[in-house]
């Protein structure tokens, strides 16, 4: 018998284990009855229910709706959705401020119920239209006039019917519709942040306040998503602190997260924006390495887009492509806890991993472990050539139970250990929607475990799914300690990027523990600032300490780091020289900085050192570096960084647009779309 924390724990486990699987036949029967009833209800009730195309407003809005539904206008729709959200905020708050009585179905300032996906909604183009058109509701949400719970005649109630007092709290408050805003603005937070639906009585008493509760809450996402707290890197004065050290970061989770936030009409939590992850999301065509070196670094100094008096030092690293790759052993460790049931979690996960199977070679091996309640091996190690078998196992997965991450992780590593042979690469791919600490004492213990396994040669990559409960900080920590990537998968397109297009980068490490140290020349550089990499800062002495872990470069990965540098004598110098401080350094005025790079060959314990002098003088950045600067600017805007001055979203958009390059996969075009969304959503 396993040991339980307490009685409740024991009861929980017992309940889980004993729950029978639903009977397929009964399920089908029940679903059929439901759908029949649904159809009947529509038939009998159409007369009473106004449709979305009532004659008086058919012309303009319908035409507008159709126009917006044309697929080639999607970018426009994305952008306009946010406009409408902002607009409605205005329309709804105005009456509140005048403390007018709550609008009834007759006065109807009907909110626009934003249709399901943001990119599918049809909406009027401006606030003015919303005001003037009282019943604009393209999503058919209609208030008043309909008995909200009345059972319709003709519906099949095969067994006894039950009373409708369950709907008590829903009835009566339908005259004012906040539509889908609640869910759009707040996210489908599993943490249950939504306020209780007020009872009719309470509603009458505090109409104003309860209305405010249901108004869209601008900008602030309420959820249990957790992000590491990291303030932006401060400006450093070269004469005081000439050396800057950090570990590279190839994670991209922050960008996907940002995209998913913006697509719901929400500015992302500034803490969730990690500028280096935004920049490193994009593939860049940097000069490729020649010969045996695993990567090639290139340093470019150019004018800073947001400040003509400073310079941008752009450090580019291009990893080599692998030509001959060793067989892969992959253990999918999949979270199938109850919360994974949502469509953007387990179903997306299954689709994503199916996509990846196509990239594997016959000799690769795959195993699947799930964790929910109790961890279990769903698929014993199987050759990738038996694709059918693997897909079947994936398709059989269903969500249920609580998260027992620790147990699952141990099981997955045990399997990976079994599969591992000399010269092969073993990796655990953890897919989860959130918390991962059941079973292990603490995050620290979990981290230690992953770290120890990394040393024994099994790596870990983490893929985040869904919103509402994502523990981004833990994902980062696990991936960093497991020599893997942390990616957040919000769409199938993102899965395609991470698991198909860039699979070899995610699976094959070509250089480990890559650290960058830059020493600035106090004679030429007055001040400098590292953009991003806040969570990756290293101590100066850690650079030469091979025991200190750092980021990995995967095959074909590109890594970009940016410093904003203020030359000595520039108008942009922010600090005054110390009166009693050291005398400004004399001597060498031809060098700007000295770059040191340390990395280890995969599996090696001793690091190698690369050094390069960065001369004074700017040149044209080139489209690759310029695009990365646009993204870095965008990220800083989202974080509310003040160092950018007047430079705003429109500048970022212009810069990005001018430097899209080939953009074969459309990533850069998408970034511009997101910038435009952010521009519309941002308060200033």
């Amino acid at each position: 018998m396993p040991e339980f924390k307490d009685e409740l724990d024991k009861l929980r486990a017992a309940l889980r284990d004993a729950t029978p699987a639903p009977d397929e036949a009964s399920k089908e029967a029940a679903l059929r009855v439901a759908e029949e009833n649904f159809a009947n209800l529509q038939g009998s009730a159409t007369a009473a229910r106004p449709t979305d195309t009532s004659p008086q407003r058919t012309g303009f809005l319908k035409g507008l709706g159709q126009m917006f539904m044309k697929p080639n206008l999607k970018p426009m729709m994305l952008a306009t959705t946010s406009l409408v959200i902002v607009g409605i905020g205005v329309v709804l708050t105005t009456p509140l401020m005048r403390t007018e009585p709550i609008p009834t179905a007759k006065t109807e300032p009907v909110a626009e119920a934003i249709a399901s996906e943001v990119d599918q909604s049809r909406q009027p183009a401006s606030t003015a239209q919303l005001r003037s058109d009282q019943t604009s509701n393209s999503s058919k949400q209609v208030s008043g006039g309909v008995d909200p719970s009345g059972p319709a005649e003709g519906a099949i109630f095969s067994r006894e019917n039950f009373s409708s007092d369950d709907a008590q709290s829903e009835i009566g408050a339908t005259s004012f519709i906040s539509g889908d805003f609640g869910s759009v603005m707040m996210g489908d937070s599993d943490g249950g942040m939504e306020p209780l639906s007020p009872s009719p009585k309470r509603l009458a008493k505090s109409q104003a306040s309860s209305m405010r509760d249901r108004l869209p809450q601008p900008q602030v996402a309420q959820s249990n998503d957790q992000f590491p707290d990291a303030t932006a890197n401060p400006l450093k004065v070269t004469s005081e602190e000439p050396v800057s050290t950090f570990s590279i970061d190839v994670d991209t989770a922050s960008y996907a997260w940002l995209r998913s936030s913006l697509s719901r009409g929400q500015l992302p939590d500034p803490k969730s924006v990690r500028v280096e992850e935004l920049v490193n999301y994009f593939p860049y065509a940097y000069p490729a390495p020649e010969g045996d070196v695993p990567f090639q670094q290139t340093v470019t100094v150019s004018e800073t887009p947001w400040n003509p008096d400073t310079q941008l030092m752009h450090i580019a690293i291009q990893g080599a492509q692998v030509t001959e790759r060793p067989p892969l052993n992959l253990v999918f460790l999949l979270d199938t806890s109850g919360s994974m049931q949502d469509a953007n979690k387990l179903p997306l996960l299954v689709q994503s991993f199916r996509l990846m199977l196509g990239q594997l070679r016959p000799e690769d091996e795959v195993a699947i472990v799930t964790y929910a309640g109790s961890a279990g091996t769903v698929l014993e190690p199987t050759k990738a050539s038996e694709r059918r078998k693997i897909e079947d196992a994936l398709l059989r997965l269903h969500a249920g139970g609580s998260t027992a991450g620790g147990e699952g992780l141990r099981a997955a590593y045990a399997l990976a250990g079994q599969m591992s042979r000399d010269g092969e690469v073993s990796r655990v791919l953890l897919a989860t929607d959130g918390d991962f600490n059941v079973g292990m004492q603490s995050d620290a213990e979990l981290k230690g475990f992953v770290e120890q396994k990394r040393k024994s040669g099994t790596y870990l990559s983490v893929f985040g799914f869904g919103r509402g409960n994502v523990n981004d900080a833990l994902m980062q920590t696990l991936a960093q300690n497991g020599n893997g990537q942390a990616a957040y998968i919000d769409t199938l397109a993102e899965a395609q990027k991470v698991l198909v297009d860039q699979l070899s980068g995610a699976m094959f490490t070509i250089a480990q523990d890559v650290k960058i140290q830059v020493e600035f020349n106090p004679a030429t550089v007055a001040e400098y600032r590292l953009i991003g990499y806040e969570t990756r800062a290293l101590k100066r002495e850690d650079f030469n300490n091979d025991k200190v872990d750092a980021g990995e470069i995967g095959a074909g990965h590109t890594v970009t780091a940016l410093y904003e540098v203020t030359p000595v004598g520039s108008d942009a110098v922010l600090t005054d020289p110390l009166r009693f401080g050291t005398v400004a350094a004399e001597g060498n005025t031809s060098d700007l900085a000295f770059l040191r790079l340390r990395y280890k060959e995969p599996g090696a314990t001793q690091s190698k050192l690369l050094e390069e002098v960065v001369p004074v003088g700017t040149r044209d950045a080139g489209s690759e570096a310029a695009f990365s600067a646009a993204i870095a600017g965008f990220g800083q805007l989202l974080r509310g960084n003040t160092a950018l001055g007047d430079w705003g979203y429109s500048d970022a958009i212009a810069l990005a647009n001018a430097n899209k390059g080939d953009d074969a996969f459309g990533y850069r075009a998408e970034a511009v779309k997101l910038m435009r969304l952010a521009q519309s959503l941002s308060p200033n």
């Binding site: 029940a30 996906e117 009345g150 067994r159 639906s197 769409t491």
Partner: protein, 186 residues
Amino acid sequence: MRPTITMRMKTSDEALAQAASDGDSEAFGLLVRRHYDRLFRLSWRLTGHKADAEDLTHDILAALPAKLRAFRADAKFTTWLYRVTLNAATDRARKAQRRVKARDGWGQDYTRRAAEAADAAQAQDWLTNAMRALPAELRETVALTLGEDLTQAQAAEVMGLSEGTIAWRMSEVKRHLREMATEEAG
């Protein structure tokens, strides 16, 4: 142009429910398919009897099209659905005087299961006894918090109670279980 089914795989429950209450049958179909298993699980945990759970789920689904009109999109769909389920379960038990049977259900199903899996018998016995020992409202609370993994706040929202009440109920559950353990030992 209508959103395709594949596009809709990603649509939120709330949006689907909204669409369904506006007459979109495809949205309704997706929604009930997505939640059938969840509904069944909860029903089973409330009744302790597979056949009863199936009946209950069936009833809920049959009445759902009409009920859905009362769904407001600013509530979370699952919260709403849990509430509907709890009420339906209570109602059903009341109407058919089945409160006793619901408790007995915890016996029937388990005797059969115990025969099927002898080695698990002990644990199941414990579960049966534990669930039967609980008054109905505590059983509901257990089904939501331990069974469905809701937080106390979420369970409180579903049941229309304060969070404190749920916390108190859970401590009651603990007390019941502890008493049971003492009895076993004694």
